[in-house]
């Protein structure tokens, strides 16, 4: 799968998941900047992050360590983390 992962599609899907799970009604995937700081600029907290992570684990079949939450500070960072995880499988 890793070779097939399209970075843009991955980023867009992560944006959709975050918008849906955190009920960000005023956001659209298109407008969601991949480098937006989820904690500083969007106000995401640890419970929000855990919720998103659980859904991402389901969707991509990867294991995300709870100690790695600080590495998931933007959509691009999440996408990179998932890609790397998939490549290491």
């Amino acid at each position: 799968m890793s070779a097939c992962v399209d970075q843009e599609a991955l980023i867009r899907r992560i944006a959709e998941i975050i918008i849906f799970e955190l009920k960000l009604e005023n956001m659209t995937p298109e407008a969601f900047a991949p480098d937006l700081d989820l904690v500083d600029e969007l106000g995401v907290d640890s419970m929000d992050m855990a919720t998103v992570v659980l859904v991402l684990q389901d969707e991509y079949g990867v294991a995300i360590d709870e100690d790695d939450y600080p590495k998931l500070g933007s959509i691009r960072k999440i996408a990179d983390y998932i890609r790397q995880n998939l490549e290491n499988k």
Binding site: V39, D45, L54, D58, G61, A63, K89
Partner: protein
């Protein structure tokens, strides 16, 4: 490798013993409870000592340990209004007003409530807090009135507390189990229930350096769990608790060792969560990251505080979302925590009556 085979070989399947989150949520009752509790994930707490004064002195009181008791009190409502305004700006949505005795500064409580509408006050209940303060009110109970007289030097305390808060929807009695008052819980809870009151449970957690006889041992932990579960079964309308609460708070190890405390005092990370946002203000409105936790000066190895667990167990959503019963237990815990702390939140029936052991900490 295609997506189907990737998912089949992943850890998230029932063959590996770890369930997918979506599979756990496929149960309608679990999904409903998850949707109920997650609405409150916006809560961001900080805690505040309101004054250094108290009207009683209790054996084992955490407040009169460490340096915070020597802070110069700031009882100027304007200063508190400014503090609360700043707290709101940095994202705090829930305030815990505690030490030493908040009922002695009612004007400041009103000021806080006017700025931040969600919160809780920890009081000994001797003086009634005005109804204009719409926070949840936790009234500490440390045994029957004979025990209160002995260790709190307070006469007829429970009767006074019940009288002050009869039919008050803000009030929640918090029975603290020490090594020596376990059986007394039966008579105290019966009395509270007889007055139509609600009660939850706390565990005495020794302050740093404490050498008194209230500290729990293995025998008292085991007995406490049994009494908690008995009372939960006997008074389901009055006792706000769950089986998993009892299990989590009566383990041989403290909460930090089991779950990893997320308060700044034990958590150096400032990236996300409590380590980033939580502050514990002293009565002079200063705060110190090195000491910041919900009950400062508690011996972290002995910490089983209800306040600590409310944050620490709740924060471990990730590691509880691996098995249906583990997740149900976590939902019961969070549902209990919200009913205990948030004014107006109604507790639902517990989903998991079995005693489920806490999940292991990741290596």
């Amino acid at each position: 490798m295609n997506q189907t085979s990737t998912l089949a070989s992943s850890r998230c399947n029932t063959e590996s013993g770890i369930w997918k989150f979506s599979e756990i949520l496929a149960d309608a009752a679990v999904r409903e409870r998850w949707e109920k509790v997650r609405k409150y994930f916006f809560l961001r707490e900080s805690s505040y000592d309101m004054t250094t004064r108290c009207n009683i002195r209790c054996d084992g009181c955490y407040y009169y340990e460490g340096q915070k008791q020597f802070a110069q009190c700031n009882e100027n409502p304007k200063a508190w209004q400014e503090l609360m305004s700043q707290e709101k700006k940095r994202g705090i949505t829930f305030v815990v007003l505690a030490g030493a005795e908040p009922s002695l500064v009612p004007r400041i409580l009103e000021t806080c409530y006017e700025e931040v509408s969600l919160g809780c006050i920890a009081t000994n209940g001797f003086i009634r807090i005005p109804e204009s303060v719409g926070y949840r009110i936790h009234i500490s109970v440390w045994g029957n009135d004979r025990t209160s007289l002995r260790i709190r030097r307070a006469k007829n305390l429970l009767l006074k507390q019940l009288d002050n808060y009869q039919n008050d929807p803000r009030a929640l009695f918090v029975y603290t189990f020490t090594r020596n008052n376990i059986d007394e819980a039966h008579e105290v809870v019966k009395m509270i229930a007889g007055h139509g009151g609600k009660v939850t449970f706390n565990m005495f957690s020794a302050p740093v350096g404490y050498e008194g006889n209230l500290r729990h041992d293995l025998k008292s932990l085991d007995l406490t769990r049994r009494v908690m579960l008995d009372l939960l079964a006997q008074y389901p309308e009055n006792v706000i608790y769950s089986t998993y609460n009892a299990v989590a708070h009566t383990q041989p190890s403290g909460l930090h060792q089991i779950y990893g405390c997320s308060y700044p005092r034990m958590n150096p990370s400032e990236d996300i969560g409590l380590g980033r946002s939580f502050r514990q203000y002293r009565a002079d409105l200063s705060w110190d990251r090195e000491k910041a936790c919900c009950v400062p000066d508690t011996d972290c190895n002995d910490c089983r505080h209800y306040a600590s667990g409310s944050a620490v167990v709740t924060a471990r959503l990730h590691r509880h979302a691996t098995q249906p019963d583990t997740f149900r237990s976590w939902l019961d815990y969070v549902d209990t925590y919200l009913a205990v702390w948030v004014m107006g939140y109604k507790k639902s029936d517990n989903l998991c009556p079995e005693q489920v052991e806490p999940p292991q900490r990741p290596e």
